[in-house]
């Protein structure tokens, strides 16, 4: 069971430093832990609690609310098929049934080789491209049964290098350069912002 690595602790400190209250960094840090291990380990959650100053129970309380956070290992590829209304009208449920057959699992299950976890998900904002799915949150638009089988074959054969491991979201991170930083505004900073006061607007 893994705590955050030293590199990730450094990243975590940078992220925490952007927020007026450390706990606001909780979801970004949980994503970081999931990126590191593919799911949320108890140790990582306890470690995050130490970093932001809350109990591990509070960390779990937040994490367990959100669909994307997995408390147990999942497949290398999360295959999320949308069956919500726009996709349902264009064959999303039939696509899901086909995927169940191809992968030999039901939604929520993982294949025995640990490669695929299948999920029946809600709208993923690609409604005009129905039926659609995401593999580790990377989109596949207007996908047919044959297209799905091709996708699975490509993933199995390692031909989809554009799809990173589960847990990896954006591959570009925000970095605020020290010399450009305006600084965190905490609720205790009661001063009128200088560009407002300089404009001399009494009614603001």
């Amino acid at each position: 069971m893994a705590r955050l690595t030293n590199d990730n602790v450094e990243l975590a400190r940078e992220i925490i430093g952007r927020y007026p209250r450390p706990k606001s960094a909780l979801i970004p840090l949980l994503h970081l832990a999931q990126e590191q291990d593919g799911y949320l380990t108890d140790d990582a959650m306890a470690h995050i609690g130490e970093l932001v100053g809350v109990s591990s129970a509070e960390v779990l309380g937040t994490a367990s609310f959100y669909e994307m956070f997995k408390m147990e290992p999942v497949g290398r590829y999360m295959v999320n098929i949308c069956t919500n209304i726009s996709c349902q009208l264009r064959g999303g449920e039939e696509l899901l049934a086909h995927a169940e057959k191809t992968l030999g699992i039901r939604p929520g299950q993982t294949t025995s080789d640990g490669l695929f976890t299948l999920e029946d998900v809600e709208c993923i904002a690609a409604c005009t491209e129905a039926p659609c799915l995401q593999v580790n949150y990377r989109y596949e638009h207007r996908i047919s049964n044959e297209g799905f089988d091709q996708l699975v074959n490509d993933l199995r054969a390692g031909r989809r290098t554009d799809v990173p491991a589960h847990g990896v979201l954006a591959e570009v991170r925000q970095h605020i350069p020290e010399d450009r930083r305006a600084g965190v505004v905490t609720p205790e900073d009661k001063d009128v912002p200088v560009w407002i006061s300089a404009a001399g607007e009494s009614n603001r």
Binding site: R18, P20, R21, K23, S24, A25, I27, H31, G61, T62, F65, Y66, E67, M68, F69, N80, T83, N84, I85, S86, Q88, L89, R90, E122, C123, A125, A126, C127, T128, E129, A130, Q134, Y137, R138, L169, A170, E171, V172, Q174, I176, P177, R180, R181, A182, G183, V184, V185, T186, P187, D189, K190, V192, P193, V194, W195, I196, A198, A199, E201, R204
Partner: protein
């Protein structure tokens, strides 16, 4: 009416480099920011008020008025950008974030300048890594170029924009739930009053929560003036707006059209838009503004995409999501799917929503599966009435947010219009039940 109104927010979508700083600067990018710094914050706010820019997230509240709700002389104020697009059928904010992140960032800067926010939080839906990536890169580039951060372009205006993100929860699109999530908590809405974000929002400070599309309009408004924006569209719906048309249409797509004058018929049937129903079949129903909106039918096709008109006709434009169902659509199945969404996404804070949406789903599921009972239709309406008393429009609430009442919309729509379909499904079930052979002799009594 189809007009040749300019594309305001999707103007760069066809450019291959639309998401880069150089591509943005080459097409007028960050000129509005320069102009604003010369105008002063009050003048920028006035332009937005003049534009009468209605919020594009769902509720359609005027952005300029919303900004003015922050109490005077209470500091600091925060800006929170709602990029948690997840209303079923809605597909526009993701495109704006992926294809033109600098336009959004410039909009955020203009809003912060006008309102007086020294820090802004850009909350992007968790399931959208490309949007997160494009925004992260755009922020990094804009910081390096001096557009964000300390003393922007040499002025006295300083603001940090922090990219933050969700982790899968529809309810976080509700602004107080979004604030809870930004504070590191479970995304459960806060009671209003007293927690109106403009008064008591992030860290209990005045907070303006604006939608991605809303903010993306600001650079154009500041560059061209509020009056030029207000000259487009109808009196109560100005400018242009993005609509995603999905479902049974020939050419599903996202279209920016003049707000308030283009009709549903234009959007669904015109060749430059969705191009008509698949296979030229007949229209059964359509959802005019996302899953939360009551359904519209044939007789509503000539209504303009205009907020007040659609509100009065008993639905809403919501988040600009038009979902088209043709005559082959199974009303029970479609209704069940939308209700199931709300049941899955209920945060569980209010009993009428938590229990009610769950039961609505179970009852609809048994009707769909062939186990429906004749009393189920009244039961559906009774449960609905407990979530949203009177089942009226606009909906009344027994809950602290509109999620629960939203689950009532598809039921009220489908049951009113297609009741015979539900009844036929139930009658079939009854018949099947009565025809099951039962071997009486093996039944023993425990009396």
């Amino acid at each position: 009416m189809i007009t040749d109104a300019p594309r305001i927010i999707t103007s760069r979508f066809d450019n291959a480099d639309s998401f880069t700083l150089s591509g943005y600067e080459a097409t007028g990018g960050y000129q509005a920011l320069r102009k604003a710094l010369g105008m002063g914050p009050a003048a920028v706010a006035d332009e937005v008020k003049t534009a009468t820019l209605l919020g594009r997230g769902g509720a359609g509240f005027p952005a300029g008025v919303k900004w003015g709700l922050a109490p005077e002389n209470v500091w600091p104020r925060y800006l929170v950008v709602n990029g948690d697009e997840s209303e079923p059928g809605t597909y526009k904010d993701r495109l704006l974030m992926e294809r033109d992140p600098h336009q959004l960032i410039e909009g955020v800067l203009l809003a912060c300048y006008a309102i007086g926010c020294g820090q802004a939080f850009l909350y992007v839906r968790g399931e959208m890594p490309l949007a997160q990536e494009r925004i992260a890169a755009a922020l990094n580039d804009a910081y390096a170029a001096g557009y964000i951060g300390k003393n922007i372009l040499g002025s006295n205006f300083s603001v940090d924009i922090v990219l933050s993100w969700g982790a899968g929860a529809y309810i976080v699109g509700e602004e107080t739930a979004l604030i809870e999530s930004l504070e590191g908590n479970r995304g459960m809405p806060r009671l209003k009053p007293p927690f109106f974000p403009a008064a008591k929002g992030l860290y209990m400070q005045p907070t303006i929560v604006n939608n991605v599309e809303t903010l993306s309009n600001l650079p154009w408004i500041v560059t061209n003036g509020g009056e030029a924006f207000a000259a487009l569209g109808a009196e109560t719906s100005r400018g242009t707006r993005m609509f995603a048309v999905s479902g049974h249409v020939k050419n599903p797509g996202v279209f920016e059209v003049e707000y308030g004058v283009t009709t549903f018929r234009d959007l669904i049937y015109a060749p430059q838009y969705a191009g008509g129903i698949l296979g030229d079949r007949a229209l059964k129903a359509y959802i005019p503004g996302g899953a939360s909106a009551p359904w519209f039918f044939e007789e509503h096709l000539d209504l303009p995409l205009e907020k007040v008109t659609v509100d009065r006709a008993g639905s809403m434009l919501g988040s600009g999501a038009v979902v088209v169902m043709d005559e082959t659509t199974d009303a029970v199945k479609a209704c069940l799917r939308v209700v199931r969404f709300f049941a899955r996404e209920s945060c569980g804070k209010c009993a009428p929503c938590r229990e009610g949406t769950t039961w609505l789903e179970k009852i609809l599921q048994r009707i769909q599966d062939g186990y429906g009972r004749p009393s189920d239709l009244d039961l559906l309406m009774d449960v609905s009435d407990n979530i949203s008393p009177g089942i009226a429009w606009p909906p009344k609430q027994t809950t602290i947010c509109p999620l629960g009442p939203s689950a009532v919309s598809p039921i009220a729509s489908a049951l009113q219009r297609f009741r015979p379909e539900f009844e036929a499904r139930i009658a079939q079930a009854e018949e099947a039940r009565h025809s099951v052979p039962v071997n009486i002799s093996k039944v023993s009594s425990h009396g």
